[in-house]
């Protein structure tokens, strides 16, 4: 946990923590090997149904397909609106995809088999041990969003590739390499979980310092060494912690805790081991850009753009891909670069490298991006959420009626006040972005005077981007 004297908005104590694991039953549950195995197994069953529905659904209407609806309405929206901002990488905790490679590596599903893990166990190259591969993987995945979110079989193909990829990568590389550096949805979860209100951290450094060997890293008979290759005894950022709960089991001193915390604390962490980086900055740009493009394509009224996204003609589709790529990888970062440059110029500081100003301030886009994605998700969930009730009762469109909700018609909910909800979300997350922007400014520029001046361009950028999204949502 980093010690900071800074207070968010000048009032919120960023060192405040509330330990959830201090309650005995909570700790007992989390230390059981059924946790998270049992939720994973239940989730695995869910995804078997999703895959079956997506496969049998073929090219039929996605809005009546269990696979499409659960993945793109329920899961995606839950991820953006609750799981990531609230519970960090809780999705990774219950994600069923790596269970097969875990099983192959450990040769046990439930028990702990001490000793070396199976599989080839190669190390992932250091140069790629960052978000770049995931940035590209996610961007490429979004090229196909016009198919995946509406064609059941396209969702099947995506999930199939992820499942097989996770398994094969798990056989070749050590531990959760796939989750850490390859999974398309891992990247933004890692990035945005820095904002989460929950964290897994060690409690007392004194205990860890004298504990050898560090069982949280190497494992013992109670559990495996951190599958996510973290050092639970001293990591400070949520980014790459998959919340698999192994360290809670392997720590003989119960020195690992799950804490509630003020949102966004990790944004201020910049250490040698967990530095801020251009990879995460670009992840933030890509997420922001995708939100804009997706809004234009899926919630805007422009038919020609929809035709491009759904690939009516090949030139149109390639045009969309080109625009999408350039917009996300170059234009958004380019615009931000201008403001970062202005920030440096205005601050009068000549020592701080421009790259550092650019990278560090990019972290203000984490709360911003989370906010716009929440707003976007509201626009998907409220009009289309009622489909979920239907597909729960008739998951394969075979005429079933499991829970008596198969006849519920499409019913938009609260769409009249949707604009207010989206506007309110934007303002809240704009405030967080500004709050952390100021704290980051103080980190970047040694001198408070410089920080003040250097902060102004960033504040301007954040205001403008918020106004852009406001215009998109309600304008």
């Amino acid at each position: 946990m980093i010690e900071t004297k800074d207070k968010l908005f000048g009032i919120v104590d960023l060192n405040a923590r509330f330990e959830l694991t201090k309650f005995k039953p909570v700790r007992a549950v989390l230390k059981s090997r059924w946790m998270p195995l049992l939720p994973i197994l239940i989730n695995l069953f869910m995804f078997v149904i999703i895959l079956l529905a997506a496969f049998t659904g073929g090219l039929s209407a996605g809005n009546y397909n269990f696979g499409i609806m659960i993945v793109w309405i329920l899961w995606w929206v839950l991820l953006m609106m609750m799981l990531v901002p609230g519970f960090s990488r809780a999705w990774c905790m219950v994600c069923p995809f790596p269970i097969f490679s875990d099983w192959a590596q450990r040769t046990r599903l439930f028990d702990v088999k001490p000793g070396k893990l199976g599989g080839l166990g190669l190390k992932w190259p250091k140069k790629l041990s960052n978000m770049w591969v995931m940035n590209i993987a996610f961007l490429v995945t979004t090229f196909f969003s016009g198919f995946m979110t509406v064609l059941p079989i396209a969702t099947f193909i995506l999930l199939g590739i992820i499942i097989i990829g996770a398994f094969v990568i798990g056989l070749i590389f050590e531990k959760r390499t796939f989750c850490l550096y390859l999974c398309p949805v891992s990247g933004f979860q890692g990035l945005y979980s820095q904002f989460a209100t929950v964290e897994v951290r060690r409690k007392d450094w004194e205990i860890c310092k004298n504990h050898n060997p560090k069982t949280c890293y190497v494992g013992n008979e109670k559990g495996y060494g951190c599958p996510w290759n973290r050092t639970p005894f001293d990591f400070q950022k949520n980014t790459y912690c998959g919340m698999c709960l192994e360290c809670l089991k392997t720590c003989p001193y119960d020195n690992m805790a799950i804490n509630l915390r003020p949102p966004g604390v990790d944004l201020l962490v910049d250490t040698k081991r967990e530095p801020r980086g251009l990879d995460e900055a670009w992840k933030a740009f890509i997420m922001l850009g995708i939100a804009i493009v997706f809004y234009l394509a899926f919630q805007g009224p422009w038919g020609f753009f929809k035709d491009m996204v759904r690939g009516v003609t090949l030139p149109g589709y390639l045009g969309y891909i080109a625009f999408h790529t350039v917009f996300n990888l170059l234009i958004i970062p380019g615009v931000f670069f201008v403001f970062a440059y202005l920030s440096k110029r205005l601050s009068g500081n000549t020592e701080v490298p421009l790259k550092s100003v650019f990278t560090n301030f990019a972290y203000t886009l984490i709360p911003m991006g989370l906010g716009v994605w929440m707003g976007f998700s509201v626009g998907i969930l409220l009009p289309n959420g009622s489909y979920i009730l239907r597909v729960l009762s008739d998951p394969f469109a075979w005429g079933w009626n499991l829970f008596g909700t198969a006849q519920i018609p499409w019913t938009p909910v609260l769409t009249g006040i949707m604009g207010y909800i989206q506007g309110a979300i934007l303002i809240v997350f704009f405030a967080f972005a500004v709050g952390y922007g100021w704290l980051l400014a103080k980190q970047i520029y040694a001198d408070v005077k410089q920080a003040k001046r250097g902060f102004i361009p960033i504040l301007t950028f954040l205001t403008l981007i918020t106004l852009v999204f406001l215009w998109l949502f309600v304008g």
Binding site: F55, G58, L59, S60, A104, G118, G119, L120, I153, F156, I157, G160, I161, I164, F167, V168, L171, I172
Partner: protein, 284 residues
Amino acid sequence: MKITKPIVIAITLVLTIAFVALVYFGMTRARGAPVAVPPLQRATLVSHYKTQSLDLTQDVALADWADIPGTAVELVYQAMIPPWSKGLIPAVTAKSFHNDTELYVYVTWKDESENRALGVGEFSDAVALMFPLSNDAPPSTLMMGFMGKQGVNVWHWQATQDTEFWSKKSVSADAYSDFLYPFEEQETLTIAKSPLTSAVSDLLAVKVTTTTAKATQNVQGRGVWDKGAWHVVFKRALKATNAKEDAAFAHGARKLMAFAAWSGDKGDRGGRKSISDWVQLEFR
């Protein structure tokens, strides 16, 4: 079992091939059981050039049409807009020719009974031709000419009107109705009519429920019922009198058209009819 390199390669290959095969299988059945879809085959009605012209004031002479090849046009129940047809006329046979100034279309179909009069529960046999007014109209929706704003020109021949016009006989009982009407089971209202100028109503429509009589009636027609079949001849000037209201024809051109037929004794009237798909009319 220790996982070695060859095993990983083998697993990867097997999984990839199995997945690709599964996706391929899924794609072939993505819209249900795969069947070969026959290519679209639109019936073509050829209108040959002839120097002949017909006089409709005389009765329809079947001999005039005997050696012109006919096109069989399949009809189906009109089952899109209620009320739906009650009986089906499965097909009509159409023939056509044109001379320098006139177009002739001949339609024949089997009908066991000749219904030339109207009354309560008694309806007229009829046949209609429909042409889109726009020459480049796409062969999309044919429901009463919903083909963009220009709409369609409909030539509606009715046996009752034929009797009235050619035989100068009154066909109506005191009350009748021949179109969609909310009280159709108790049809008792008389409907005012303008004096007849033809056995064929020359109509305009832009969509369902918009059929409107044109101000100028340009189409003549005459029908004869013979040995269990109707033979109806339509005649119109090749040139359109008013391009906005009349279908335009020209030697060497192509035009979309559609057919509809009514069987009075089965209760057909108004929207209750048998209809065809688009037919290509070709002038040679």
